[in-house]
């Protein structure tokens, strides 16, 4: 069954890739959507069928075959369903299905229709492999597969230079992260002797996480990073996560990745692939909880990325770029959550974020199509009356991401902020600092999202004059005379509505304990508990001790100890912080509304508009030195002088020798005979004289 989930999109990709060129658009769309639908239906079926077992921490394996077995190293092609991967496949397949549906409308008339959907289906295969793998090597297969699909889809418009450059950038930056990931897995194998996650007695496999639990906690010190122990493994894996999930300092590829079609941005660069890093960290939570230094670094980088990207998002003109920076910022929140030990809260934010960010991206795609391929918000405005459904759904997404109460983003973001405030896994000043940064970022998030909405949907329409002046930029695809924006077709509007519903209701699966006063259990985190190692965060229901199937039960010493005393206090503090969050969200929206409502074309500081000149700095400090080194040393010296010198020298030597020897061949048969006889005489002479 698990195999069918990952294979269905692969079959779709194979069919579309091999025969898609001769198919019609309707058939292509049907195949692409139906294969994803099969995965989605199977995922839901498995989820509800094994719901109770998953909640108790049972793990379902599906062994396909042994892939590699060398000495003590063993890697199986086998799949694992536990509560963490179950949650992931649920939202991945669900969101992906609706994005596929949206794409059938968005990509209409594109010459590469079949190619697009073949890549999309292949992406689904890779992503599901990543999530369902039961060892790090299989995860790495999916990890690289999604990277490949990301590359192919960013460079989808391959006749355009900027798309190719963006694709290469994404691939190369990801490669840096993947290198760290691969090193981390190798070190893990050296230390633990296995790359499987969990014990599986049926196959006689020992899990790396069981090993992790038998180890002592690493100290919280810089030296631990280079000690080659648990902390080093955690840091190396986190390097992989910063690449894939676009964290500082490897985030630079994600904004450029917007060169791909908008459904790609929604599916790969917002909802699913970029959250693979969070998944990996949560999966390896047993390792992270033993490496407090790595946790601190992760929390700090997450918070820094959240703030950094949010401020840049404040100053972008391209509607997709704003959302891209917003994604980076939200991913920062997720890592902040993982860093403070609230892995469940991080995954919960992944879950809600998948809905509202996919919604916002698809809404932006709908706007772009409605505006005839215009992405610059300077030429939008007043679209409310032209695109009512798109407006209504994006309105929901806007409120959700801003953290307005009772929408999905509110619950998950609030949970993260609360957890970072009360965490006791980090040394003293950090929890407050992290909370402050997170809260301030929430304010900026509300402001830039309000800016996006105001510039796009409210105010004076700014597209008319731009059309008249012939300044129609970008894709140069004029749709004739009817220059007015219009609502998108049904295949695009329907997914928006569905995802908007998700953005409203997804949050109710994980209402924080404090808000409901403990009456409504935090279902989501309770469900994830067996799959995730708990760190030292005190929590209302620290009953994870009762999950015998998972190693996590063995370490939740802390939760049990701290629990009882702070129960009442906990909730009042949580309510207070929630109140602060609500005020921040509303204040942000209000500030944005007043400020950008009055001056929608306000020029932001150029430092922000130029993204802190990070690309320029990277260009000057990394790219140019490499280029100069490559040209002057590797090419002009090593290649031309040394390697070419050897090769050409060998050729010239052979030529010289041949030129000398060819005079022996005079063409006179008798001279040959003379040489033969002379030679024979010399040999005989040698033996006679000896």
């Amino acid at each position: 069954m698990l195999g069918a989930i990952i294979l269905a999109p692969l079959v779709g990709a194979a069919i579309l890739g091999l025969f898609g060129k001769r198919m019609g658009e309707r058939l292509i769309g049907l195949i692409a959507c139906s294969t994803v639908a099969v995965s989605a239906i199977l995922s839901f079926y498995l989820f509800f069928k094994h719901h109770a077992e998953l909640e108790q921490g049972q793990k379902f394996y599906e062994y396909l075959f042994t892939w590699i077995s060398v000495g003590t190293f063993r890697a199986d092609a086998s799949l694992l369903l536990d509560s963490l991967s179950a949650v992931y496949i649920l939202f991945i397949t669900f969101v992906a299905f609706w994005i596929h549906v949206f794409a059938t409308g968005y990509m209409r008339g594109d010459t590469g229709y079949w190619r697009f959907f073949a890549y999309m289906n292949f992406f689904m295969f890779s992503m599901l492999t990543l999530v369902l793998a039961d060892n790090f090597l299989m995860m790495f297969v999916g990890w690289e597969g999604v990277g490949l699909c990301s590359y192919l889809l960013i460079g989808y418009y391959f006749t355009k230079d900027f798309a190719n450059d963006a694709a290469k950038k994404a691939f190369i930056v990801n490669r840096i992260g993947d290198f760290g990931f691969a090193l981390g897995v190798m070190l893990l194998f050296l230390k633990a002797g296995t790359i499987f996650y969990f014990d599986d007695p049926d196959r006689g496999i020992h899990g790396a996480f069981s090993w992790a639990f038998s180890q002592a906690h690493d100290p919280l010190a810089w030296s631990a990073i280079f000690a080659g122990g648990m902390t080093t493994i955690a840091i190396l894996l986190f390097v992989g996560a910063t690449g894939k999930s676009a964290q500082l300092p490897l985030y630079v590829w994600l904004p450029d990745a917007m060169a791909g079609p908008t459904p790609v941005s929604a599916l790969i660069h917002a909802a699913t692939m970029v959250t693979a890093g969070v998944y990996m960290v949560a999966r390896a939570s047993s390792i992270y909880t033993h490496a407090p230094t790595a946790m601190l670094i992760m929390a700090v980088i997450g918070a820094a990325t959240a703030l950094f990207a949010a401020t840049i998002g404040l100053a972008q003109w391209d509607i997709k770029k704003v959302l891209a920076y917003s994604t980076i910022s939200q991913l920062g929140y997720m890592f902040l959550a993982c860093g403070v030990g609230a892995f469940g809260a991080g995954i919960f934010h992944v879950f809600t974020h998948a809905f509202f960010k996919a919604l916002l991206f698809l809404g932006a795609g709908s706007v772009i199509i409605g505006m005839h391929h215009e992405q610059d918000m300077k030429r939008m405005g007043g679209l409310k009356k032209y695109m009512p459904v798109t407006f209504a759904t994006m309105f929901v997404g806007w409120l959700a991401i801003s953290g307005v109460p009772f929408l999905s983003g509110f619950f998950s973001k609030d949970e993260i902020l609360y957890r970072s405030f009360i965490t006791d896994g980090l040394p003293e000043p950090w929890p407050v600092i992290l909370w402050g940064v997170g809260a301030f970022t929430a304010l900026i998030t509300a402001v830039y999202m309000t800016r996006l909405m105001v510039m796009t949907f409210w105010g004076k329409a700014r597209f008319g004059d731009a059309h008249d002046a012939g300044a129609h930029g970008g894709h140069g695809e004029e749709h004739g005379h009817g220059g007015l924006p219009r609502e998108s077709p049904r295949s695009m509007v329907l997914p928006l509505v569905v995802l908007a519903a998700g953005a409203i209701f997804a949050g109710y699966l994980g209402v924080p304990e404090g808000l409901s006063g403990g009456k409504l259990p935090n279902y989501f985190e309770h469900f994830l508990e067996p799959s995730i190692a708990r760190s030292k965060v005190p929590s209302g229901d620290a009953q994870a001790n009762g999950s015998p199937h998972s190693p996590s039960g063995e370490t939740t010493i802390h939760g049990a100890v701290v629990q009882g005393s702070a129960e009442v206090e906990d909730h009042s503090l949580e309510r207070m912080l929630t109140g602060v969050s609500i005020i921040i969200a509303l204040a942000g929206i209000g500030m944005g509304w007043v400020w950008f409502g009055r001056k929608p074309l306000w020029e932001p500081p150029s430092l922000l508009e130029h993204k802190y000149y990070v690309d320029e700095v990277y260009d000057a400090t990394v790219i140019q030195p490499i280029k100069v080194g490559a040209i002057n040393v590797l090419w002009k010296f090593i290649d031309v002088r040394i390697i070419d010198g050897f090769v050409n020298g060998a050729g010239q030597l052979a030529g010289l020798v041949g030129g000398g020897l060819r005079h022996l061949q005079s063409g006179l048969a008798r001279s040959y005979v003379a040489v033969v006889v002379l030679g024979a005489l010399l040999i005989i002479g040698y033996f006679v004289m000896r």
């Binding site: 061949q665 063409g667 006179l668 048969a669 008798r670």
Partner: protein, 100 residues
């Protein structure tokens, strides 16, 4: 009983005549005959030494040499005929287009 050295002396004489013939003659057929002469000089050595040591291996070897010589004669004569048809000449010094 003729002593062994006489046979060997005769054989060396024949071989030298053949070798000198190959050197100084330009006619392809004469050279060819000289080569045959050298071959048979060697055959003579084989046979005489075979008799001297009482070992039939040398005589067997002669048969092989004769067989090869027959084959070589067939091929060599065919080449000579073919050269003559093309060039109207048997002077080997003129047949040097394969050089350099």
């Amino acid at each position: 009983m003729v002593p062994l050295s006489w046979y060997l002396g005769l054989s060396a004489l024949l071989f030298t005549i053949g070798a000198v013939g190959v050197f100084i003659k330009r006619n392809a057929i004469t050279i060819f005959l000289s080569i045959e002469l050298m071959l048979n000089a060697v055959n003579l050595t084989f046979v005489s030494l075979s008799g001297f040591f009482g070992d039939v291996g040398g005589q067997l070897f002669v048969f092989i040499v004769m067989t090869v010589a027959a084959a070589e004669a067939a091929v060599g004569l065919a080449i000579i005929i073919s050269i003559f048809r093309n060039r109207e000449s048997l002077n080997v010094d003129e047949v040097d287009t394969l050089k350099l």
